[in-house]
């Protein structure tokens, strides 16, 4: 099936993106973000979870957390392309919240068929969720879980769980007697203990989660199929977040280069500053175009979704590394301080670069698809 020329990014999608941009511009400036998450600079401090829960509730009330839930399960059933527009704006604002995890869980649950419908209804009712899929090594391969499910519930630990302290629910991948299954449970279920990770990124929280006989509803007996079905959307949306964040980094660096003067000229006059900023723009546009192509593939060309999503996330990961590097370097001495806002995005991007696979990992998967496995 061919993709529509406009990525399926129609009027509704444009409206959603524009209202999201307005929402964050009005309610969540970078000053607010800095005051919220960077109050304590001590690198040895205990992990915290700083977020604006009442603003998150507004976002839930707007229905944005259930955009991807199919109408049959009480959601809006918007295409991935439209959701990517919203997530791009979320990334631009670097708003700490469990939206990405909730969307990720939604796409996995959609692949669980009838067994996933009750969980999707929980999300449609406003609950947030996050994926608990990874092992202690942080493997990006689906099915790398250490958790197992026995007669008395879940046992073992899940690692690198995103925004765990902000999420209401967990979607866990666990070994069962009959292969890998997926399980749905509240974060406050019996036998669940959450240990926060001390992380670099100030706009997220992360944890490893221990299960000690936690009761959970099985939503799939074929976890790999559901996960593989969902990962293209997961990679694509994270790449959309990175594109939005990078647009902030570029604009902030350009604003600084247009005002700060040295040697009687603004910094932007010097090609040693100008050309790298142009390079950032080129890389952002490549990643952005690839994001909407991948999103559109998730919606209309499923057979190529994985291939295009690998391209989007590989491109976004390398782009984000360069955009971050130039944002600090362009700001010079002030960019090296805690007081300057660029470190917030630098750290968010650094986290996103490796989350769900870095550039090299995605290119290796892409090569297997397009060249064939290596001898």
């Amino acid at each position: 099936m061919a993709q529509p020329n406009n990525y399926g990014f129609g009027e509704e999608a444009a409206l959603l993106k524009e209202s999201a941009r307005k929402f964050f511009r009005e309610h969540f400036t970078t000053d607010k973000l800095h005051a919220l998450v960077a109050a304590d600079h001590n690198p040895d401090r205990a992990p915290t979870c700083d977020w604006d829960q009442s603003l998150w509730q507004k976002l839930v009330d707007l229905g944005w957390t259930m955009l991807a839930v199919p109408e049959s399960a009480g959601g809006v059933g918007m295409p991935v392309a439209a959701v990517a527009g919203l997530v791009e704006e979320l990334g631009r604002a670097a708003f700490p919240c469990p939206l990405l995890g909730t969307l990720n869980a939604t796409y996995v649950l959609i692949g669980c068929g009838a067994d996933g419908e009750a969980a999707l209804a929980d999300i449609a009712s406003g609950e947030s969720a996050t994926l608990a899929f990874s092992n202690r090594h942080g493997s990006w391969d689906p099915g790398a879980t250490e958790v197992r499910h026995d007669a008395d519930g879940l046992h073992g630990s899940a690692w690198f769980v995103q925004d765990a302290a902000k999420s209401d629910r967990l979607l866990v991948c666990a070994h069962t007697e009959n292969g890998l299954g997926l399980f749905w449970l509240p974060m406050n279920a019996p036998g669940v203990s959450r240990v926060a990770d001390g992380i670099v990124d100030l706009t997220r929280d992360q944890a490893h989660i221990r299960f000690d006989g936690s009761p959970a509803v099985q939503v799939s007996a074929n976890a790999l199929a559901a996960i593989n079905n969902a990962m293209p959307a997961v990679w694509t949306l994270l790449a959309a977040d990175m594109v939005g964040a990078a647009e902030w980094q570029l604009q902030t660096s350009v604003d600084y280069a247009a005002t700060r003067k040295q040697f009687d000229h603004t910094l932007g006059y010097f090609q040693a500053i100008k050309h790298p900023l142009v390079e950032v723009m080129l890389l952002i546009d490549e990643a952005k175009s690839l994001v909407y192509n991948a999103a559109c593939a998730c919606d209309t060309e499923v057979g190529k979704a994985a291939q295009y999503a690998h391209m989007a996330k590989a491109s976004a990961s390398d782009m984000a590394a360069y955009a971050s590097s130039r944002s600090v370097q362009t700001h010079g001495g002030i960019g090296f301080t805690w007081e300057c806002h660029v470190h917030l995005y630098f750290k968010r991007q650094k986290h996103s670069q490796v989350l769900w696979g870095d550039g090299s990992w995605h290119r290796a998967r892409l090569a297997d698809i397009l060249i064939g496995a290596a001898a």
Binding site: H265, G268, A287, A374
Partner: protein, 412 residues
């Protein structure tokens, strides 16, 4: 239904069906001569006449200049050149030889010349009967284009031209040249004026064309020397002193960012040419053995590099698609102005990667029968520098993007 066909207007849909039918019946057969990689490398009259015959038949059928008005020899349609281009590419036709005429001279003449000049020159430009060339660069005016010194001195209703133009592709076949001239030595930008001047009919009468040999060893471009060439004032485009503004029309279209779509054909498979794409590098890598059991396509580092290139190519393709999705654009010129820069740099990196894949055998060139792919990859790599230098070097492109899109201060 093809990807593009689904959004056609009724006029476009009808025209598309017509193009498809005409191409099925009239696409030219395989040439008996070896075709060059691009129109800018046409070397012989045999190559030229094969390609000219093709352009003429496409023009007579209405596939060239579709969106120009009928009065200047166009088709009088709207937004149909894109359709014709897509269908010609899909049918894998030869390319058009009059590439500078179609891409740069036609829009410039159309927007800035006198009405009688337009209707006199454009029909033979579209048909390819008159080949055009471009006279911008000079020995002392490269990236700093506005410093051109070739001078036009007024003499009644004529102008007398003296000076020296370089890097002039196709001048050895050209009837006409678009040319940027100095008419006033006291103002840098406002002292420039823009003309069209005859070349072939003036050879030996004020015009000398001499071939320049490129780093590949091929000819293809030239230097053109003007020695008291007399030109009628009616061949001046726009007002005296407005040459720089007219030149911007040319450059905008050259970079693929102009209003009028350039007629474009191509795609014909030719055993001696290889499109510079990562897909072709994959095929090359599979064919380049590293041992009994494995090939370059098994090397993890090369696989990573090839995927990088493939991703960049797909990104450029998707940029072109996104250019038409208003809601996903922040600045109208942001993507169009990247096009030439990205296309030329990506091609260069891809060709360089092909040489890495060939390994030791990349040392073998066109004349060696053991050269992989007939030695086309070293040729393509060397030729790629033409594209990163012509039409404003990559460095100049980055200045333009930094200044016009990002709004940074103008660099000197």
């Amino acid at each position: 239904m093809s990807e593009s066909a689904r959004k056609d207007t009724p006029e476009q849909a009808e025209f598309r069906a017509y193009c498809r039918e005409w191409l099925a019946a009239n696409k030219p057969g395989e040439p008996s001569v070896r075709l060059p990689q691009s129109p800018l490398e046409i070397m012989t009259e045999d190559q030229l006449s094969y390609l000219q015959a093709w352009q003429k038949s496409a023009y007579d059928a209405g596939l060239v200049g579709c969106d120009y008005p009928v009065e200047v020899g166009g088709g009088g349609r709207s937004n149909c050149q894109t359709v014709a281009n897509e269908e010609m590419m899909a049918a894998r036709t030869p390319f058009f030889p009059n590439v500078i005429g179609l891409g740069m001279a036609a829009p410039t003449v159309f927007y800035h010349a006198r009405e009688d000049v337009k209707s006199e020159l454009l029909p033979r430009l579209f048909s390819g009967e008159d080949i055009w060339c471009q006279g911008f660069s000079e020995p002392g005016a490269g990236s700093d284009l506005a410093s051109v010194q070739t001078f036009a001195e007024r003499k009644g209703d004529k102008w007398v031209i003296n000076g020296h133009k370089v890097w002039t592709s196709l001048a050895h076949f050209a009837e006409w040249m678009i040319i940027l001239l100095r008419t006033d030595k006291s103002h840098k930008y406002d002292g420039l004026s823009y003309f069209v001047v005859p070349i072939r009919s003036a050879l030996g009468k004020g015009v000398t064309v001499r071939p320049l040999i490129k780093i590949t060893g091929e000819t293809g471009f030239n230097e053109v020397i003007f020695d008291n060439l007399e030109v009628d004032d009616r061949f001046r485009l726009d007002e005296l002193g407005k040459g720089w503004q007219v030149a911007m029309t040319t450059l905008l279209h050259e970079r693929g960012a102009g209003e009028l779509q350039t007629p474009r054909a191509g795609g014909m498979k030719n055993k001696s040419t290889h499109a510079i794409t990562a897909g072709n590098v994959i095929e090359l890598a599979k064919a380049c053995k590293r041992g009994e059991e494995n090939s370059a396509a098994d090397d993890p580092l090369l696989r990573d590099k090839i995927m990088r290139q493939l991703i960049r190519e797909e990104g450029l393709k998707q940029n072109q698609r996104r250019t038409r999705v208003q809601a996903l654009l922040d600045h109208p010129m942001r993507l169009p102005l990247q096009n030439k820069l990205l296309a030329s740099e990506i091609a260069q990196q891809t060709a360089a990667l092909a040489l890495e894949v060939e390994g030791m055998r990349s040392s073998l060139y066109l004349a060696d029968e053991n050269a992989p792919a007939g030695g086309q990859w070293p040729l393509a790599y060397m030729n790629s520098y033409g594209m990163t230098i012509a039409a404003g070097t990559s460095e100049v492109q980055r200045n333009i993007l930094g200044e016009r899109v990002l709004g940074l201060a103008k660099s000197k």
